[in-house]
Symmetry: D2
Subunit: 427 residues, 4 copies
């Protein structure tokens, strides 16, 4: 027996790779196809349209193929509404719930296509039938941009944010995914953000491009999130990052306990990991400075309290506090201390990170795999990402998450940040 | 002005590198020395003894030198009791508290040397003057092996476990550290555990040595802790690790949410990260299997509940539950879900990991940096550690923590575990 | 002023990515296009056809676009003959000579399309107007499969093989390149060879696929070339590779001086890099064994002479000699010795490697970057390649050379070879 | 039966680790020892002296132990002359020839200790009984600093440089090796060169130290050798390296064919690997520029000819030629071309590299493993080496060769060179 289904694609379906991906998926999964209609955009600005009939041996195989096509932007020709089912319990989704990609997504509700708010990967989609009531709880990833117009609203929720009774989208009907298309031109500061990892690209010229992208984001009123690992401090880039925070090129900071500890250690003891980052000397008891730093900040009651008391007078955390740049310090099991400011619960920390990620227009991932993955998990594929690490495997892993606007650079964070700061601030 | 202090070293101070380290430290820090007495062990079994007078320009420099000598096992010739000060508040240590190394340590109390229980790095040392009262709280790393004999007791506490009034050791007087000495012979299964990282050693022969070390640990009644990353599942080693758990070669498991999810995904859907680990096929919706797995386990109420309900019937977590091998699943900010069994609070998770680490006689660190560092932070330098990863930087970082009984192997976990299991179980 | 040119594409131009690449190239280079004709293959077996007019600002820009389209398989609609110019001197090509890709290529000569023999990257194409006369010189990469039928023949020559008077193809007219298409199915042992690097794939299952691919190549009468680095010996895989050579699963060997030295050292002294690969002991003077080995082989007159004299009685080189498997030992500036058998001249060594590469149907690249790149430089994009290394950067670099039939595996060569041998020989 | 031998050590035998290494070697190899005499240097400037009797089960074991002790600087108490034997043939050493370490070495001849000239690893030691006659042949590593005083002279020869009749040192008697001692202070620009690899050190401060070391070498009239890989060009550091050559901070260049090709490509076409290193654009046919560059240089007759003809007007090779900085371009099997200037024979290239290595006072190894190993093979352990690479494994491997004056830095060559040039030239 042969079964079939009709699907359609539209947009820049050739140069975005959508048609290639769809043809490949059908063949890989053992199906076949016939092209019923094909209108090619006659020039680079016209969109194309294709309608295919997909054939498979049986219904299971067909569903499998249609699922893959759907992930790649091909949708049934004759859409129906999305299925909705109430969550049976808190944190429990209905079986066969729809799990999101990180691409812009719409669901069909009452014959209309609703855009899904705050899209991120591996979430459920919840529909509120009336006006958003705004009672935001942890894990609700959609609450705050709810309009008050009383119309229905769709937004993502992570599994642990689901509440009993939430109307959750199930199955795959009535859902449209739009993988990002290839930009039509290469002009503008973001033109370079399509090139994957650059381990052998000219380093200084690439940093110039990054500086332009940051400057452009700021000119357009956008928000820059810096995700920072402790290597940034050890490698001597602390003062330059602090300047970028002070001068407003970094609007938000996402880091871990260790980053803050070493930043504060440098203020309190002049060292990072026990080494003087100017003279390269190892002063007395240097290897214990980080634990003494933690002890001092606990004694003061926290970072802000230590700054208010005049104990800490410089550095990245200092500039964040003094200039009202919000920061999230997320805990991990390898932390010493931790500092009182560190959010030790992973779910709570994820929710705080999620808020940052959704607000950011440009994300700088600087020498941290753990925190970059955590932030990346919450990003839409349309958010601009610049990932810098000396380990090519880290850069590859971070870029390999489907973002169309991501660029990676394999370089030394200890030279990258100073050169970036010089370009943004001194020229 | 010149100030001086007399220190002494004893033991196998030459071949353990103690004298070399001490001489180097004095010169690096600008001091000088005279050897007052030196008795060399006349053969390889006799201990040596050295007494030096150390000179420095001023008291600060001298203290700095003596601190470094102390870390390397040189102690003042005329010891006095350790200083004790009560903690002013919960989580707040007295200024100048003594922060531990991971080497066996004694403190002098009332003229007697007390061994510090449950030694680990970067902790405070707390002295209980009477009998241990056993009221164990989180973060108390010393409570449970308190004798009931009424004598004084010294043990480590992490900073966040400190309670107001705890008597905390301060300064550096009255403290003796014993860096591990070089083993006197290379016989026995652990003879090979002195060799650092082996990226170019014969792989199969090295695995044979690891198997012997595990077998010997078990014969001696010891306990083996496996610290596991999700790559172990993706690389196809799950079934063989499950066998090792079942047959009693792994007594405890330390892992993260992702490890458990992918282990369970393989049971529920036959895949890991969406790929069938036997056929290498990617079945329909494979990339969503991990999120469905989490959802199924949440619905069941947890891993043990899912096993009891017959939902899960194989794998590492299954064998742990069925054979009463305790496990700790520690959460992190990059987790999906998490599973109900995952400890999401980092401090709580550290305390659970600490208990495992202190009980273990041999630790296998298998393809996870985060969890291995967390476990390693809690280990004494005398615990045997075998660290396996395909990334040499990970192995180097893990071994670079002062353990005298650690060995690293740069290999593929997906071939390592099967060969290890074959050697332990099939021969 | 606007200039234009008409080009056409045919074949599986969508799922091979050709159309996507062409559309992208036009936009990247600032041009525009109109689709004049488009016939889509109505099913997965039918080919498609597209005819475009490409527009650019000026002739230079247009030429630049057409060049890129050409590299991606788009050809002028109205082909003319290729231009030919005689080489002015030995090793000197005419300016604007056509430099090859590694894809199957045809050139138009006298109105006919001639297939270019022995295609490899970055070569010149030479046309012989009459019958191939067979006077093969070093660097002539095309001589030996010349037919005696008297017709014209086209083949590649590396720059240093060019002789004065050779008729060399210049410009880009009359040349057709066929980038490899996506295989129509995933069946057969080679179905898995489309998946890039597998660092997180199941290791044992992947080795099974590799074993199947080798077995299938041998069943079909094909030739397997192993390119081997010294890590293979250090990691203890020597005996199993020797078995594969003896049993005929490896037909040719390409390696360096160091590989041979360590293979022979193991025979003569029982060590590799001074370590006993069975017991892991370091016997007396072990670190000097490699230099003594070189000295012994020089004294004997060479590897074959040492085997004939009974000096060497086992190992990879031994099995190559005993079973007439041709080998090339290519020298490098980091060699000790070298052995008398090592070809120290890089150009001469390249020519020897080139012969091997052109004969091979399946190439195993085992733990050597230098020799693998050298072999890879000589391969057509249609040759099957399996690349194994523990360093993911090496695997990525080797696969990133446009081969459609290449697969990479990040694993430990010291466990890979034994498991491969077990699967091929013991089952 | 027990056999014994008396050995002695002198110098800073404790803080250099010599005693520790000797005690360890005896125990590892199953022997035992008694300390007959031990005079410890009573302060950091006095030398120590130890005399041991070493015991072993049999003569073979004893010889094995004594060999290891010898490598670590322990010598027989009652020295005799070194044994000499004539080489039986060209390139053939006597059996049991002494193979050198890279440490300063003396041999005892006629009751006198002769220093071995031009020490490097894995060579034979040849003694000329009369005056050095200066007939330098390839592979003779000792000829040119022969005094004319008519006395005997000892120097190293690589195996392929041995000539029939050369008097070669055999066995281990009458040979003294002096492993480098720990510097007595940390002052001076070279104080930082004892610290191994710095992946987490402050980058800019470390570059400052490197600049100081180069400046000091130049002030002292020393010679700086730069060993360069093509990544230096791709990463945009070409112009700054060219300035360093022009201004005399680099006296000699050691590189490969690819480095020169990409340096020249940038001059001829404005690209490196086809990319414009300023604008990051990929101009037309960019990926073919390297092969056209080779073709142009061949046509011109070589690099110097191309510069003389005005074809090439900038870059590293240009500055070398214009400022008479000698360069060696060593060929390898992965080269395209090669250029007429490239030495394609590995042995000939090694000899050219050897001359450079022996002349250098400071060696900068910049982003090339192959050429750095080749140079490193020819260096004495007393030559200063600074090794820079973005891959920590490369840095570790290069430093792991026993040089006491080597320092490694894991950073981006594309930012390292510009910052270094700025510090040396612009301040």
């Amino acid at each position: 027996m042969t079964v079939s289904r009709e699907v359609e694609l539209s947009g820049h379906i050739i140069d975005s790779g959508m048609m290639q991906a769809c043809f490949g998926a059908i063949m890989d999964l053992g199906g076949s196809f016939e092209v019923e209609e094909f209108q090619i955009g006659r020039s680079e600005v016209e969109e194309s349209y294709a309608r295919l009939t997909v054939f498979a041996e049986d219904e299971a195989e067909l569903r499998s193929i249609v699922h893959e096509l759907h992930q790649n932007g091909a949708n049934p020709s004759h859409p129906v509404d999305a299925s909705l089912e109430p969550a049976p319990d808190d944190q429990v989704v209905p079986p066969d719930f729809y799990s999101t990609t990180n691409h812009p997504t719409e669901i069909r509700y009452d014959g209309e296509w609703l855009s899904v708010d705050r899209i991120e990967m591996d979430c459920a989609v919840v529909v509120e039938e009336g006006a958003g009531d705004g009672d935001d709880v942890d894990g609700d990833t959609g609450g705050d941009d709810a309009g008050g117009d009383g119309g229905p609203r769709a937004y993502t929720k992570v599994l642990n944010g689901i509440e009993a009774g939430d109307l959750v989208v199930t199955g795959e009907t009535g859902i449209r995914v739009r993988p990002p298309e290839r930009p039509r031109d290469k002009e503008g500061a973001f033109g370079f953000m399509q090139g994957g990892v650059s381990s052998e690209r000219p380093s200084e010229s690439t940093i110039t491009k990054v500086a332009e992208a940051i400057a452009e984001t700021k000119r357009e009123g956008g928000s820059v999130l810096a995700v920072c690992g402790p290597a940034l401090i050890h490698s001597g880039a602390r003062e330059d990052l602090a300047r970028l925070v002070r001068e407003g090129y970094v609007d938000m900071l996402s880091a871990g306990n260790g980053f803050a500890v070493h930043d504060l250690e440098r203020d309190l003891y002049g060292t990072s990991l026990g080494m003087d980052t100017e003279s390269l000397d190892h002063p007395r008891k240097g290897h214990k400075h980080h634990i003494y730093t933690i002890s001092e900040i606990i004694r003061a009651g926290g970072i802000e309290e230590a700054i208010d008391a005049g104990l800490v007078e410089s550095g990245v955390m200092y500039e964040c506090v003094e200039n009202d740049r919000p920061y999230v310090l997320a805990g991990s099991i390898r932390d010493d201390g931790p500092l009182p400011d560190t959010i030790t619960d992973a779910v709570e920390a994820q929710n705080a990170i999620r808020e940052q990620a959704h607000e950011a227009d440009l994300v700088l991932m600087l020498s941290t795999l753990l925190h970059s993955v955590a932030v990346g998990n919450c990003l839409s594929s349309t958010t601009r990402v610049i990932c810098v690490d000396i380990n090519p495997a880290t850069v590859t892993q971070l870029l390999d998450r489907g973002s169309a606007q991501a660029v990676g650079m394999v370089t030394d964070i200890g030279t990258f940040v100073p050169i970036l700061a010089e370009q943004l601030l001194d020229e």
